[in-house]
Amino acid sequence: MSIIEVRNLRKSYGTNFAVDGVDLTIEAGEIFALLGPNGAGKTTTVEILEGFRNRDSGDVSVLGIDPQVRGDSARDFRDRIGIVLQATSDAGDLKVSETVGYFSHYYAGAKDPDEVIDAVGLGEKKNELIRSLSGGQRRRLDVALGIIGNPELLFLDEPTTGFDPEARRAFWGLIRSLRDAGTTILLTTHYLDEAEALADRVAVINKGKIIEVSTPTALGGRATSQARVIWEEDGVMREELTNEPTSVVSRLAREFDGEIPKLLVSRPTLEDIYLEMVGLTNGAES
């Protein structure tokens, strides 16, 4: 079942098309990452899906509802989604438990606030004022407020900006556990390693258009792209691009008769592929 269906979505500001004919299908239970440079149409697309912005044209269905609805239907819609915006900085004069507890009243089928606070790892900070939380803890609170309504679909915008590597790993674990519990997640991020670690599928958007939708391992022909074999020979680094890295390595193994000095076999990272894709589309138009 598709959670999000977008057909030929368009939105312009003045003469500039921020979103220029986007098609997207997001399935139940997946983590879907939307990647793209700043100004690519990422935020506009997501805000249309969240119901914050109206579109110019195209068909949009989120959980079977048009997010542009207003009034009571809008309340029903927001009852079923959760939104974690880019870093917020609320004044922070409330305690974690007060804030989560109060947000739980907004939703018809909210989860237990204490359970949610524990799930995001803020159990020990429950009675602290929000202003005393660290950046990572604040982000966990944002997630707690996003999931307190037991959403079927969660929007996550740049969730780990400013995290140290350890906090990011722990945060990723939290996001995976939400997916495993059945929540569909639409993630936008600048970090390609984050998309690779979390996403079941990724879409790259640039200049208001979707360039490709794929799995992180297959994006841009990554799975079938040439491997790079690097080694040292006579004191200099040598490299070879090949479709058959295994045979190159066995050839080298025979030549060296044992260990190949400083051997490295690699394929392009998601970041390499992404930069190439975004660079190409930018180049094609300029």
Binding site: E50, D79, L85, T88, S89, D93, L94
Partner: protein
């Protein structure tokens, strides 16, 4: 865990009101600024100007009536027009917008905050006025009735106008610099710090457009002797006119709020 009934708008608004008050009380600066500053002003002006301005009426009594009227502008208009842009900058408004919370609940919560802080402020001013500046509590039930509708209508229009004005400051940080001068100038023009009839006529005319002048005049009708009415611009208290002008500003504030309110900066 899930009984699928839609939460009640009023109940959510009441809950938000409690949360707003809790937040307010934890911000020491806002407590001092909103509750104690008017009291300090009253103490200073009341001690410096002790003249008798009419038989049986001192300037401090005149001034205290004006400060009570100002209390409504401070707790409603000034507070909201500063706090809402800050909440907008912090992203808290956008976050609320993304939840099923009804918009009305947010405004009900704000109104409760204004009402409670206004009641505290007016009570403190009344107490200080009676104890130190010879303010007479009215003994006449009619005057208390006037006092009640003035407070309710004044608070309501001040709240609505504060929400309406909250789109004016470009950022939360600059809000105070935009809003506070408006209030202070209005106080000078409306006869809070000076006797209104002694102000230049053009100032009086400007002030007569805005609600504060009428609130001050109404409060004087409650706390000054009836004979003082002859010292007012129209030689009467004009309470009927005050009522109509406050209602007009309330309606205007509501319409502007509903039409222009912004949940996020862009």
């Amino acid at each position: 865990m899930s009984q699928k009934s839609r939460p009640n708008t009023l109940a959510l608004g009441y809950g938000r009101g409690k949360l707003e008050i809790r937040q307010f009380m934890r911000q020491r600066e806002s407590v001092v600024f909103t509750l104690l500053f008017p009291l300090m002003l009253m103490a200073i002006f009341g001690s410096v100007f002790k003249d008798t301005i009419a038989p049986g009426v001192t300037f401090s009594q005149y001034f205290v009536a004006g400060m009570i009227a100002s209390g409504m502008v401070n707790s409603g208009f000034q507070q909201l027009a500063i706090v809402i842009p800050m909440e907008r900058d912090f992203g808290s408004l956008k976050r609320l917008r993304g939840t099923p919370m009804p918009v009305a609940s947010y405004f009900i919560g704000k109104s409760i905050l204004v009402l409670v802080s206004m009641i505290f402020q007016v009570a403190l001013l009344l107490l200080g006025g009676v104890l130190f500046f010879g303010l007479h509590m009215p003994s006449d039930a009619n005057k208390w009735l006037t006092f009640t509708w003035l407070v309710l209508l004044g608070t309501a229009s001040s709240t609505a106008l504060g929400i309406a004005f909250s789109v004016v400051p470009k950022s939360g940080r600059g809000a105070s610099a935009v809003v506070s001068p408006v209030v202070i100038i209005l106080q000078f023009f409306s006869g809070v710090f000076f006797i209104f009839t002694q102000l230049p006529p053009w100032m009086q005319q400007v002030a007569a457009i805005f609600p504060l002048k009428w609130l001050c005049q109404g409060m004087r009708s409650v706390f000054l002797p009836d004979g003082f009415a002859s010292q007012e611009v129209a030689r009467s208290w004009e309470n009927g006119k005050t009522f109509l002008i406050l209602v007009a500003w309330l309606v205007a504030g509501l319409i502007i709020s509903i039409r222009t309110f912004k949940w996020s900066r862009d």
